[in-house]
Symmetry: C2
Subunit: 313 residues, 2 copies
């Protein structure tokens, strides 16, 4: 299969990144376009095809894997994605198939990340694990006995919208207290305003214009007390949640992927410690927590491409 | 397969019930023994074999299915069951196999109930559903794409120990706020003491010596305000939990099985209404809630036997 390539496409609210991956996970070509430049999705499909044609790269493509917000594996559609300009139900797999004439697999970005992790990352050989993606929101891809859990409608694994604090923070979904309102880049930024702390007034975060989640983690590393409290608060909520979520699929491994997780070991260790301290006895000391090893700019494209390789390898 | 029978065994803290079931779900023989009469599990195995031998019923048995507390499907063992006299890890499948010399399948009682429901009950033809057993505690059996979710160690699907109220009621597991401390026969009885209500002093429940969960539901049906509040409180917590648990497996159906559920339609309707009112948009109006149709004294035996039929049919 050495000459054969899969086109991996990661559709985001801002950019759409795409690349060609071989079955070893090497990416030989990568490019991106601005998603909202395309009034309709068929224009995006044509643009990607044009770019690959101009580069003489079409012929080796044996399949297309797409990771997309609200992507439905069963129907190959994007359904009511809040962060995309294209409204309603978008038959994206069909659109790509009609232009490229190769098999197309589509799922949401967290599921794609999980499959990528199992083929090329730190979940290799692991049949029971959950990938938690920590970006603007919190996504999850759940693998049980080597099978991705899709549920009856393709929308299983939405851990970000499990409510962890009754009547807690307002969520974009219209409900309150969802995990992602606390544990996500957005959630961390909200904590700057919403967390009670005697250290707030002395915090270096107040000197930063529109501080981001990255700023919080950076200042915490430098020893800023308030930033450290926010990191602890975030890690504790995630650790408690992962403890409870073990009651669903009893995984052997949680993989933390994306933004906040990239901060690395200290955050992971706090999450793990909190999880162990509050988990049901039968799960104690059984579950590993790892930082994704797909942490680079290609991770999303690799995850998307792995959807196709997974069905072949 | 008309002459072939499966021995279904439901091991409970009080009684062990066993029976012979054909592949249509008909039970031709049923008997029970007192579990704690047997100092060691091999004595129980011998007693069941003796009873079946005396009745000349051994020859048609092609397999044995066992539902047991803390039953592990992978290892065929009962592991640290708090309500049994037999401590540690009990290799029950091996013990039965050595005496009966037929294949033995073992899992926990909630998983057995779920498989029974899919073969003989209201989940027939349903590939994605969750059975919630409402007994002394709250158990769950999760089926995704027609596969029981066991997790890496056989202990997946412990929804009763997901914490729904931070720092809530103390649970037997040593933690606080677990779902089963509110939603179970035991939880309902605790609510009599612990729920704040202006109607408490006028409640007929106070005239009952050691009122049970059944008493609460009976008095609620008669119009007792405090009992009605307890039923509502219980249904609301379960409805809210089932709304969130949809984020795990996106099921098409929840089946309520056992004690509290047997109260029937009014409780189920309250649970369903609360679930719908608080569920994430993408799951709205997609999930049915049904009362188990295996509600009779044979249900547990049928569920246990179905473990074997499931692998054959």
């Amino acid at each position: 299969m050495d000459n054969k390539l899969v086109l991996g496409i990661d559709i985001g609210g801002t950019n759409t990144v795409f690349g060609l991956c071989d079955y070893n996970g090497s990416i030989s070509y990568e490019d991106s376009v601005v998603t909202k430049d395309f009034e309709t999705p068929d224009l995006l499909v044509k643009e990607i095809h044009k770019k690959l044609s101009e580069a003489n790269l079409i012929d080796n493509i044996i399949g297309i894997g797409i990771g997309a917000p609200n992507g439905n594996y069963f129907s190959g559609t994007i359904e009511f994605a809040p962060n995309l300009k294209w409204k309603g139900v978008i038959p994206l797999s069909n659109l790509f198939h009609s232009v490229f004439n190769v098999p197309v697999e589509l799922t949401n970005d967290a599921n794609a990340a999980a499959i990528g992790e199992s083929l090329y990352g730190c979940a290799q050989g692991e049949k029971d694990f959950v990938t938690i993606t920590l970006g603007t929101g919190l996504g999850s891809g759940v693998v049980v006995n080597d099978n991705m859990i899709y549920g009856h409608d393709g929308f299983a694994g939405e851990y970000g919208h499990i409510r962890v604090i009754p009547n807690g923070r307002a969520c974009g979904c219209g409900r309150n207290g969802c995990l992602e309102t606390y544990v996500s880049a957005t959630g961390v930024v909200r904590s700057i305003d919403e967390l009670n702390s005697t250290h707030r007034l002395n915090s270096s975060l107040l000197n930063i214009y529109n501080p981001t989640a990255v700023d919080v983690f950076t200042e915490a590393e430098k020893g800023d007390q308030f930033a450290m409290e926010i990191v602890d608060f975030t890690a504790n909520i995630l650790g408690d949640a992962l403890a409870d979520f073990a009651c669903f699929s009893s995984p052997k491994l949680y993989v933390l992927f994306g933004g906040i997780a990239q901060n690395g070991e200290p955050f992971k260790e706090k999450v793990k410690a909190k999880m162990e301290s509050s988990i049901l006895n039968i799960y104690k000391n059984k579950i590993e927590v790892k930082i994704s090893t797909l942490h680079d700019k290609n991770a999303a494209v690799l995850g998307a491409a792995s959807l196709v390789w997974k069905t072949i390898i």
